[in-house]
């Protein structure tokens, strides 16, 4: 028989088992557990306090008074250069099944510096995300030159001390040949950290086969992006740079000097466009394919992309800077902190400002070269490019385009909060 069933009865019965069932008793073990939980809660609070994310500024970055010129004088040429660029962003020739870059070969021939050229940069935000932890920890990222667009991420790189200040004594070709607007740009006064690689416009790319019939004229206005006839046939960029700034241009504001109330007006314009069902997709990079295949008829676009699409596949696309205006941006060569071969990087960065080299690059890339002298060289080797307004824009194009709004960290948060919900719908 089971003894447990023989529970004593009666008023005074206080058999342990009954007591345990009817009265809550704190055992020593439980007591310890509660105490532990208390300590745990306090510990958790302390833990929460402790693990703030520190400023991500480079830890080993030199102190403010550091003499960079002295540092540069101690650096030596190594004979190697690691160059990280964007895809399709340099001159390239197919030879025997291999891609070679004539301008790089010329550089190696003249200087003896071997270049490891790669194309790891797909877009600024994700590349920044990739290199940020290493730079914050004070490690080399494996590149001596990287190419970053002026705007949010270049500003962050500079503010966080992730870039090596350039050796100002090695800018001879640059100072002699760069167009004035690339010397001392507003986003990097005195070219302390950057030199332009190429520039481009943001405007409207369109497929005339689909738009001419509807409009009876070429696309020429941002209001064409609001035309109900293009329902579900419009592409827009989904980013925090081109998209908001273009919205500001659309409401007649110069983005560079815009205020929060302008931002809200621009957001209203962009929302109106989205809610009317005009936008098919907010693209990151991949708008050329749908534009060529006719999935969309017109889209926000970068000038050189349209040129390259036409050159490679006869897509018959066109690019226009709308009458309301457009945007101009510059991709910049920078030397990240802890680069292994800084002197070689400086030699290369100045080398591309020789007009003959700039001409080779412009011929292959079809964006805007920062070296006006390249035009004369190209007139001899490739006259159509020398005449192309997308590579050598006429002066009146520049008068219509604006630069991006420069944002402080707190402004950036507000800016993102206004524009992101529109394209991330």
């Amino acid at each position: 028989m089971n003894d447990a069933t023989n529970i004593p009865t009666g008023s005074n019965a206080q058999a342990p088992v009954v007591h345990g069932l009817t009265q809550r008793r704190l055992s020593r073990r439980e007591l310890l557990r509660y105490a532990g939980a208390g300590v745990g809660a306090v510990g958790l609070a302390a833990f929460l306090e402790a693990c703030g994310i520190q400023s991500q500024k480079s830890k080993s970055a030199a102190s403010p008074g550091f003499d960079w010129q002295k540092w540069w004088n101690q650096q030596k040429q190594t004979g190697t250069l690691d160059f990280g660029n964007w895809p399709l962003y340099i001159d390239a020739v197919q030879k025997g099944g291999k891609t070679i870059h004539p301008s790089i070969n010329l550089f190696t021939k003249e200087t003896g510096i071997k270049v490891n050229y790669s194309e790891p940069i797909q877009d600024d935000p994700s590349f920044f995300g990739k290199i940020q932890p290493q730079l914050a920890a004070g490690q080399s990222i494996g590149y001596d030159i990287i190419v970053i667009t002026n705007g949010i991420y270049l500003t962050k790189l500079i503010e966080l001390n992730y870039l090596t200040p350039l050796d100002q004594t090695r800018l001879k070709n640059f100072r002699a040949n760069a167009a004035p607007k690339y010397q001392n740009p507003s986003y990097d006064p005195g070219n302390k950290h950057s030199m332009a690689w190429q520039s481009g416009f943001t405007g409207i790319g369109y497929n005339p086969k689909l738009t001419d019939k509807v409009l009876g004229r070429p696309v020429n206005s941002l209001n064409d992006l609001l035309n109900p006839a293009f329902k579900h046939k419009v592409g827009m960029f989904g980013d925090n740079q081109d998209f908001p700034n273009m919205g500001l241009v659309a409401v007649g504001v110069n983005p560079e000097v815009s205020t929060v109330s302008d931002w809200n007006r621009a957001a209203d314009w962009l929302k109106k466009q989205r809610d009317a069902g005009l936008v098919r997709q907010y693209y990151e990079q991949n708008y050329i394919k749908p534009l060529s295949s006719g999935d969309i008829a017109l889209s926000m676009a970068w000038s050189g992309d349209i040129f390259q699409a036409n050159a490679s596949s006869n897509a018959g696309l066109k690019f226009v800077i709308p009458q309301e205006g457009g945007l101009v941006w510059t991709d910049n060569m920078c030397i990240p902190m802890h680069a292994q071969h800084p002197v070689d990087a400086m030699i290369y960065m100045d080398f591309v400002y020789r007009p003959d080299v700039a001409a080779m690059l412009a011929d292959g890339i079809d964006y805007i070269t920062p070296v006006p002298g390249a035009q004369a060289v190209l007139q001899k080797i490739d006259p159509p490019i020398a005449k192309d307004p997308l590579v050598f824009p006429p002066a009146d194009w520049y008068s219509k385009v604006h630069r991006y709004r420069v944002l402080t960290p707190s402004e950036e948060q507000e800016w993102n909060g206004i524009f992101e919900p529109i394209y991330q719908s």
Partner: protein, 274 residues
């Protein structure tokens, strides 16, 4: 919970989750650093900003899970009961797409479904479809992509459950004059319920937080919560908002699964493990 299991959970689950909890309550920015301010408002901010995307993700995840269950069950049933000696071949075929990257498979759908692509192009040329017809950049495309990508995760657990059913039970039911349908509904379906439960979890949870399908196949108004989390972390470098967003998603899923488990009964989950 043995010691190795405990350490595993501590290092790969508990510590990361506490760090995330801490981050979700901080304020600041990348340049000045983030400080612990116990700023609970981060949670309200993300809920307010991304409510639509939350609801949409649950909707898409739920629809995709339902669709995978409806497709995977007959498939698994057929392999388990009629596969014969070729069972493993069929299973291999089911898993074959896994040998190609998930992103590449999704991009090939983008190619196949393009407005003027190899599927719709000819149909439009002979006017079987109106010129404005499109599948890409719609909710349907995203849900279909999710369904396609998660189908094997649904089919396998159901197959395992069905495969284990003692076929004599079905014969016994038929001996007792149960029709085929009754035998299925009262013997096979209940016995395969643990498999369905596991399939549901393995599909629904990752489908809700997926962001690849919405990026590649979606358009305007198809952004899912995974995209929002990615943006907060990688584009905005706003780690507190990203962490808060992840926590809200996790809380919704955990509570949902808990209620679901209570409704179905715990023995079903134990059934999965045996």
């Amino acid at each position: 919970l043995g010691l190795p299991g405990g350490i595993w959970l501590l290092v790969f689950f508990l510590i990361p989750i506490l760090v995330m909890a801490s981050v979700s309550l901080q304020t600041g920015n990348l340049i000045d650093g983030f400080r612990q301010t116990l700023h609970v408002a981060n949670y309200w901010t993300v809920i307010k900003l991304y409510r639509t995307q939350f609801i949409r993700s649950l909707e898409y995840g739920g629809l995709a899970t339902l669709a995978t269950l409806l497709i995977a069950y007959p498939m698994a049933y057929w392999i388990a009961f009629h596969g014969g000696r070729r069972k493993s071949t069929y299973l291999f075929l089911l898993l074959l797409p896994f040998f190609v990257s998930f992103v590449i498979r999704t991009i090939s759908w983008e190619f196949l479904l393009a407005d003027q692509g190899i599927l719709f192009g000819p149909l439009k040329r002979i006017h079987l479809l109106p010129a404005s017809f499109h599948v890409l950049a719609t909710s349907f495309a995203v849900v279909a992509g999710l369904t396609y990508n998660f189908l094997p995760f649904t089919a396998l657990p159901i197959y395992v459950a069905l495969e284990r059913i003692d076929h004599r039970l079905v014969e016994a039911a038929e001996d007792l004059y149960a029709s085929k349908v009754q035998a299925f509904l009262r013997v096979i379906l209940p016995l395969s319920a643990p498999g369905i439960f596991a399939a549901f979890l393995l599909t629904f949870v990752p489908a809700v937080s997926d962001f690849v399908n919405a990026t590649i196949l979606g358009g305007v108004g198809t952004t899912m919560i995974g995209n929002a989390i990615q943006t907060e972390y990688l584009t905005n470098n706003n780690y507190p908002l990203g962490a808060a967003l992840s926590f809200v998603l996790m809380a919704v899923l955990v509570v949902g699964i808990f209620l679901y488990t209570r409704a179905i009964g715990t023995e079903q989950i134990e059934g999965v493990g045996t």
